[in-house]
């Protein structure tokens, strides 16, 4: 009983003391300091949640609340990262995965862009392609995996093909849609100004469709990762997905978690690049203007 009273007294006296700190001059000084810190604080804000999660995770592992065998602690994942980097295994797998993603994206993306362009510009091509495209778009491309394994086996071409199919549709659709939604008044004006053919394309059609095309690209980049992870996890003998599945065989959960985190980091990096391109290419657009 007496102890409780003591504790209470301790807190109340502490409170009084802290109140005396808030002399008006002191408060305004603090306010100024906080204002200076504001930009830094805002820049750090997005990393608060990931860092907090890491700390909680590490604490849970350290106290034994989460068994290491099920979910290794962050520092063990870091050690696995260091180890695999030194043996050269990790850079090799990351490189292979990146190459597959890039090749598939380049093939599927450029095909989607070309067909979308044709359907957007010519009524004939629209009538020819668009109905089929809208139908095929509804088929989840991952449903093709069994067929693709039959066609290509589990080699490189199977993964590249699957990624290409995955990125084709968002880029097709957004290119087509972007061109079709260009302000008809601007097209009319451009024709009056004597533009046609390549000049009309580069001055009006492409820049007008670009916001939509870039949305398609960002969406396709997400699909590209997803497809690659699934393809590498199901069948393969190299790449990040293979690395994690292989580690599972040997119960190396640290490597499995490392693989998952790698996808997150690489995905974030790609998204940052896409955002940067968006900001640069659409500087004229009110939604992307800096000033």
């Amino acid at each position: 009983m007496s102890e409780q009273v003591k504790v209470f007294c301790f807190f109340s006296s502490e409170k009084k003391k802290s109140l005396s700190f808030f002399h008006p001059a002191w408060a305004s000084f603090l306010k100024e300091r906080l204002k200076d810190l504001l930009p830094t604080a805002r820049a750090l804000l997005p990393s608060v949640v990931p860092v907090a999660l890491l700390i909680i995770w590490e604490l849970l592992s350290a106290t034994g609340a989460v068994p290491e065998r099920k979910l290794p602690s962050p520092h063990r994942v870091l050690i696995a990262f260091w180890h695999l980097t030194r043996t050269g295994e990790l850079p090799h797998d990351v490189l292979i995965s990146t190459l597959r993603a890039a090749t598939g994206f380049a093939i599927g993306g450029s095909l989607g862009f070309c067909v979308g362009l044709a359907a957007g510009i010519s009524r004939l091509a629209e009538n020819l392609f668009d109905g089929t495209m809208q139908m095929l778009r509804m088929v989840p491309h991952l449903a093709l995996i069994p067929l693709i394994i039959v066609w290509f086996g589990i080699g490189e071409s199977a993964k590249v093909f699957l990624v290409a199919v995955g990125v084709f549709f968002p880029i097709y659709y957004n290119t087509y849609h972007g061109i079709r939604t260009i302000d008809a008044g601007l097209l009319e004006m451009a024709r009056v100004q004597g533009l046609s053919g390549p000049a009309l394309f580069s001055e009006v059609i492409l820049p007008g469709a670009l916001p939509s095309i870039l949305v398609g690209i960002r969406y396709a980049l997400g699909i590209m990762w997803l497809t690659l992870i699934v393809a590498e996890t199901i069948a393969g003998n190299s790449g990040i997905g293979f690395m994690t599945m292989n580690a599972r065989e040997f119960m190396q959960t640290d490597v499995v978690v490392l693989g998952i985190l790698l996808y997150a980091v690489l995905g974030k990096l790609i998204d940052m690049v896409a955002r940067f391109i968006e900001r640069e290419a659409l500087a004229w657009h009110p939604s992307f203007s800096q000033a």
Binding site: D183, G185, L186, E188, M189, A190, V192, Q193, G194, L195, A199, E203, V204, P207, G208, L210, A283, W284, H285, P286, S289
Partner: protein
């Protein structure tokens, strides 16, 4: 409009690479008919416009005045009759023809100067700079269109129409969306540039006062036909006064059916 004078340096006209010596384009319409569905918008119109003339077409909304302008521009084809610009069809005369639209229609993804230079051959780019100078916006060349005011956007659209040194400019209610003061400024700007370059101008407007200030000749279109063809023979620049009011009331009386 003395406040406009500083933005219109006279020497620019002399510096413009292509001299404005090209005469305006004469216009000849014979038996023009245009219907949308069962509704005849224009019915058997005959019209001659002399080279270099400034003609205003007025009329109620839906009277067919914009349709007439689109036929002149070759953006629409008549169901019957013939449009000749000089001795050519509108399509063949297109290089010498420019339109200034009500909504400006600047490309939001091109900077102001690039908008003015749109469609100009690379070698003629200095003309775009000169045209931008002539409308008083030389210092905004590197801006995006979205940061301009409505009046400034229309000046850029005017500069774009002028840059190719056209023989015919069609103005489709170009000042309809502007505030009263900016309208007055733009009217005198258009007038002075027209006087300098000697192109034929056809202005579609629903503002009778604007037509009276700018036009050599006012055409009233009613029920798809020319209901009034009025020559305005007043010295320029015109200021509000009895003579102008007389012209205005003549046209308005006719539109409103007052005697």
């Amino acid at each position: 409009m003395s406040f406009l004078a500083p933005s219109l340096p006279r020497e620019i006209a002399a510096d413009t690479p292509a001299s404005p010596a090209q005469a305006g384009l004469p216009i000849r319409l014979r038996g023009i008919t245009r219907s949308f569905g069962a509704r005849a918008v224009l019915h058997d119109i005959d019209l001659d416009i002399a080279p270099g003339q400034f003609v205003a077409i007025v009329g109620r909304s839906g009277s067919g005045k914009s349709t007439l302008l689109r036929l002149l521009a070759g953006l629409d084809q008549p169901d019957g009759g013939e449009v000749r610009l000089g001795d050519q069809s509108p399509r063949d005369a297109a290089p010498g023809l420019r339109i200034m639209f009500q909504d400006g229609r600047l490309l939001p993804w091109r900077r102001v100067l690039d908008n003015v230079a749109l469609g100009l051959p690379r070698a003629h780019r200095p003309r775009a700079t000169a045209a931008l100078h002539a409308v008083g916006l030389a210092d905004r060349a590197r801006d995006w269109p979205r940061v301009l005011s409505g009046g400034q956007k229309q000046r850029v659209a005017l500069a774009r129409a002028l840059a190719a040194d056209p023989q015919l400019i069609l103005l489709d209610e170009p000042l309809g969306a502007l505030d009263a003061l900016t309208r007055l400024e733009m009217q005198s700007l258009i007038e002075s540039l027209w006087q300098r370059a000697a192109f034929t101008a056809v202005l579609v407007t629903h503002d009778v006062a604007e037509a009276a200030i700018l036009a050599d000749r006012i055409l009233l279109i009613e029920n798809g036909a020319i209901a009034l063809d009025l020559a305005v023979d007043l010295p320029r620049p015109r200021r509000a006064g009895a003579a102008l009011a007389e012209i205005e009331s003549q046209v308005l009386d006719r539109i409103l059916g007052r005697s």
